[in-house]
């Protein structure tokens, strides 16, 4: 039997989504758009095995491989995806999966984005569903069924939109521009923060308890084409202003839902303020955005990246930084993990 390995990048959303229109198909409430991240990738190897059960091992940069059991909530999504793809392939062969992240576990980088894109990729290939893997729209639909919305966008490289859609067929990802289109940089600034208390999955279901949700969705729908055009036209200031407002608007929903989800830490506020001051002083044009976590993604142009990374490393709240350029999407590689 042969091994297959797929590498997939994480991504940072410029238009985010928080809340779903349909929870079983994981349809987001609004179109969203992101940049893939070269510095945050997952590599996953799969091999069909003889034996009664599947085996999944996961490793983060600074840790050992850990074997997952199907009883934890996070692992359950992984085992569910294995079961789904097996049914699709009409196979009852067991699989051995080994997955490695090149970023630390506590980085608060959405490991599910790169992880579920890589997982779905190797499963499609190892179970012989090559046509589904090659048809990237279909690949992205299969990723969506994992339950990780951001993972859908990691199928493609560069700048990727996810169309919310109204059913399984119409909800998929699409490449807006490839990884060579624009030399944007995302400096992830990792701050000291407790482990997040509300997972993204739980959070999506609570979004509708926020009195501000409907207003945000209406606004986000207006912002989506502005951000998409800014990417196509490489208009950094328009993109930056929109992505910063978008991040704040999503966190406004999170913080006003019931129970509230506060993902920002003191360090998050410190970086937001620092980045805004840099702009006010007309020193460097950079913008900050936050996913469902405390770590800042500072978006800048490549010419300013070294200066930004240096400034972030001097911020007393910052533990470390990760440098990211736009990256290729999920793709097969020849080096296997076992």
């Amino acid at each position: 039997m042969s091994k297959v390995t797929v590498q997939a990048p994480a991504n940072i959303a410029f238009i985010k989504y928080w809340g779903r229109s349909e929870h079983k198909l994981f349809l987001p409430l609004n179109n969203n758009i992101s940049m893939t991240l070269s510095g945050c990738t997952t590599t996953t190897t799969a091999e069909l095995i003889d034996g009664p059960s599947d085996m999944v091992e996961v490793k983060f940069l600074d840790k050992e491989f850990t074997q997952l059991t199907p009883d934890s909530i996070k692992a359950r999504n992984i085992f569910d995806q294995i079961t789904r793809i097996k049914m699709l392939a009409k196979s009852n062969k067991s699989v051995h999966i080994k997955s490695e992240n090149n970023f630390p576990a506590d980085a608060g980088i959405a490991s599910s984005a790169s992880g579920f894109a890589a997982l779905t990729g190797v499963l499609l290939l190892v179970y012989g569903l090559h046509a589904l893997y090659e048809d990237k729209k279909e690949f992205s639909r299969q990723v969506r069924l994992c339950g990780s919305g951001s993972a859908v966008r990691s199928v493609y490289g560069g700048f990727v939109e996810m169309l919310a859609g109204t059913d399984h067929e119409s909800s998929y990802a699409n490449q807006v521009a490839d990884e060579h289109h624009w030399d944007l940089v995302d400096i992830v600034a990792i701050v000291n923060a407790d482990k997040k208390k509300i997972s993204s999955s739980e959070g999506h279901e609570l979004a509708e308890t926020s009195p501000l949700l409907a207003a945000r969705i209406e606004h986000t729908k207006k912002q989506f084409p502005i951000v998409r055009d800014a990417i196509v036209n490489k208009d950094f200031q328009t993109l930056g202003e929109a992505l910063e407002l978008e991040s704040t608007s999503m966190h406004a929903i999170m913080m006003t839902q019931n129970p509230p989800a506060f993902y920002w830490s003191p360090g998050s506020i410190s970086i937001m303020n620092q980045i805004r001051e840099l702009r006010e002083q007309k020193s460097i044009l950079a913008y900050s955005t936050f996913d469902a976590g405390a770590n800042a993604h500072v978006i800048c142009q490549k010419k300013d990246a070294t200066a930004i990374e240096h400034l972030m490393q001097k911020n007393p709240f910052v533990k470390s930084t990760i440098y990211n350029e736009p990256a290729p999407g999920a793709h097969e590689v020849n080096t296997h993990l076992f």
Copy 2:
């Protein structure tokens, strides 16, 4: 000629207002409600003088008296109020005003609330408009014309609502319960923060640029009777949950307006998280709220106040604390400042 002195408390809003329906009469977008603060008061003495011009001196706890000139924006509101009351009294006598705050200048306590209530009070008295001073509704309308919405509520003691109204006549303050009604405590935790960059006055005019404003106003109108009833019925948990959500909802507007107004500092987030954790651990029931500033107002029951104050003082972001119980409203005192 005789001196008059009025003392007035600051207050903390449980339902706040951000944004106005009318900018000349300073009509707020929604009814709002607050508790007066015993630890944060302004005492103001006025005397009519011979001479061509008015004289205003202001002092904060830790500073010397400073003479104000009519050309600064903040001072202009004070001189405008003097001019208005003179016209009302059909007087052209000059006045000497001396005003002292028992809290530090950099405390970020809305000195305008206590300051404008005390100022309007002494002006009405010294210019002989006793009927307007005695009619507290009318007194509160006169305070509103200073342009400080929160000051309107400092006319009364205890728990005070401000009815938004639709014109000068219908927009005034009202006492919901006096200062002996309920032994709530507000521990103000003063955090290290830069001077705020967007004043409340500017901020109110920018509120309408937030895409979330209309949704917030609709929600706040629903919350107002809930908070009012919780005060009347002394239902601490209902009040607490509502006041915390209300604070976050107001800051959501501030942070999503254009340009955004970020009043929270790293210390603000630290206190919010700490107070939430105390509740989650079922240790102490307390709630945090923030006006247009970085300092936390931690609302608790008197039995827990010492413990809260102690915890706040141990928080590394907190510089100092101010203890407040519900206080009497603006009232005449016999001790003059000069």
